[in-house]
């Protein structure tokens, strides 16, 4: 198996069997260690100094010692991200279309502009609902604002 790993690294293994070796190397602790060791040996032989055994620890240390930049990145305005602009454009388009649809509904209904109930809770209907609908444990526990609005 170790031979096969070596062969895979040297690009001498057939494409069909390389997937199996890869999976095996990932699944087996000993084989993955073997994979890492062979790479380390290879790096050492090529004189590549980065891939030492404690590479991960050193990298983390470097990251730790890196100063954290807290200043806002004013020099990179978000205009540079075109995705954001396209999202904003689609949101605006959707808003415009829904506004148009609402406007049309209004025109067919009445001349006076309708009230959006989201802005003005129809509490008189809520009270009527609570007075007649049987399944309503809230009806005797109305928030003060609603009982007072019935004045």
């Amino acid at each position: 198996m170790k031979d096969q790993i070596s062969a895979l690294m040297d690009d001498e293994l057939a494409l069909e069997s390389s997937e199996y070796v890869f999976t095996a190397a990932k699944a087996d602790g000993e084989l993955s260690e073997c994979w890492a060791t062979y790479h380390l040996i290879g790096d050492a032989m090529r004189g590549n100094p980065v891939f030492k055994l404690d590479f991960k620890q050193r990298l983390m240390q470097e990251l730790e010692s890196e100063p954290t930049v807290l200043a806002p990145r004013t020099k990179k305005p978000f205009i540079k991200t075109p995705a954001l602009w396209s999202i904003a454009a689609s949101v605006a388009a959707v808003l415009f279309v829904s506004w148009m649809v609402l406007q049309q509904q209004v025109e067919t209904g009445n001349d006076i502009a309708p009230v959006e109930i989201a802005q003005n809770l129809p509490s008189e209907y809520l009270l009527a609902h609570q007075a007649l609908a049987p399944t309503n444990s809230a009806y005797y526990i109305q928030p003060v604002g609603y009982s007072e609005s019935g004045n």
Partner: protein, 321 residues
């Protein structure tokens, strides 16, 4: 003295009978027992009602010694509202500034009597599943989940007292598994007295008591030029009134639909001059509102159901040309 003793004996027997039934495996039996217990037992307790940012402690005294149900409900937090009920007739006393308004209502399905006596209605719309055991307010509770079979209603999680059967806690859950409304006993005791001293409102002699006038229902007002078709599955019409409302020139028709647990109101009224039409959707706690204008009529749907249900009921209304 004899009667009190008899009552004690009866109460004991009742609780034994309830405890004896090994109904823990069947969730529907647990719920059936909870529905019966809430109406047949005599109990006193304090529960907390919670919906969104609102939480209120409520004291309930409920008595039933074979002569019907009597209950006294007092809101302990905030404005001291209280309600006295006999059978399904409820009288509510709510202080408002210098006055106390007395309202008469039909009340049913109030916690802990949330569940209808007839389970068949809700079996069509919900699936029941037995859960674990949890302690609520010092009592051992059996968890029962009631999951909606479709997206037209909320789900429920109930805790039923393992001894008395009574609901100890109830949580309404939406499709995202978020609690919408919750009621839970902090303390609960069974009563074994027939003393009815508690059955009166806490009258404040310094205030005027005013009976709220409800406009009489007039069947001649009903001009049924509309039809409601294609209601969300399981919802049936349980009430309909048409009445004149102060400040409105045309009568308002109010229909109530229910699936056995959740209730939705539908209001239909012709748009008259000077009336600002309402449109759109909004939510307050578990209650969803949907307003639309159809053929010169204001349609308003209000109910403790998901948004899909209120909008579907609104779109089910059509007018005869």
């Amino acid at each position: 003295m004899k009667r009190v003793l008899l009552a004690c004996l009866l109460a004991c027997q009742l609780s034994f009978a309830f405890a004896g039934q090994d109904a823990v495996d069947d969730p529907w039996l647990v719920l059936q027992k909870a529905a019966r217990a809430a109406r047949e037992l005599s109990y006193k307790g304090v529960f907390v009602y919670q919906a969104g940012p609102n939480a209120k402690a409520v004291q309930i005294t409920h008595m039933n010694y074979g002569q019907g149900e009597y209950a006294h409900v007092v809101v302990l937090d905030g404005s001291p509202r209280e309600a006295l009920s006999q059978g399904s007739d409820v009288v509510i006393f709510s202080p408002r500034n210098e006055k106390v308004i007395i309202e008469k209502r039909h009340g049913k399905n109030l916690f802990p009597a949330l569940l209808p006596a007839n389970m068949d209605v809700i079996k069509l719309c919900y699936q029941a599943r037995i859960g674990g055991q949890e302690r609520i307010g010092g009592r051992d509770g059996q968890v029962v989940f009631l999951n909606p079979r479709d997206r037209y209603r909320y789900g429920y999680k109930f805790w039923a007292d393992r001894e008395y059967g009574l609901l100890l806690k109830s949580v309404t859950i939406n499709a995202r598994n978020e609690p919408m409304e919750q009621m839970a006993f902090n303390q609960l005791t069974l009563l074994n007295t027939q003393n009815m001293d508690w059955f009166h409102p806490d009258v404040d002699p310094d205030k005027d008591y005013i009976m709220e006038e409800t406009a009489p229902t007039d069947s001649t007002l009903a001009v049924d030029d509309w039809t409601v078709s294609q209601l969300p599955a399981g919802f049936r019409k349980i009430d309909q009134v048409t009445r004149m409302v102060p400040g409105k020139s045309a009568p308002v028709t109010h229909l109530v639909f229910s699936d056995g647990l959740a209730a939705v109101s539908l209001f239909i009224e012709p748009l008259s001059k000077g009336m600002r039409p309402k449109t759109g959707h909004t939510t307050m706690g578990a209650t969803n509102f949907y307003a639309a204008i159809v053929d010169g009529h204001q349609i308003m749907v209000v109910g403790e159901v998901p948004e899909t249900t209120v909008s579907q009921i609104a779109s089910a209304v059509s007018f005869k040309k």
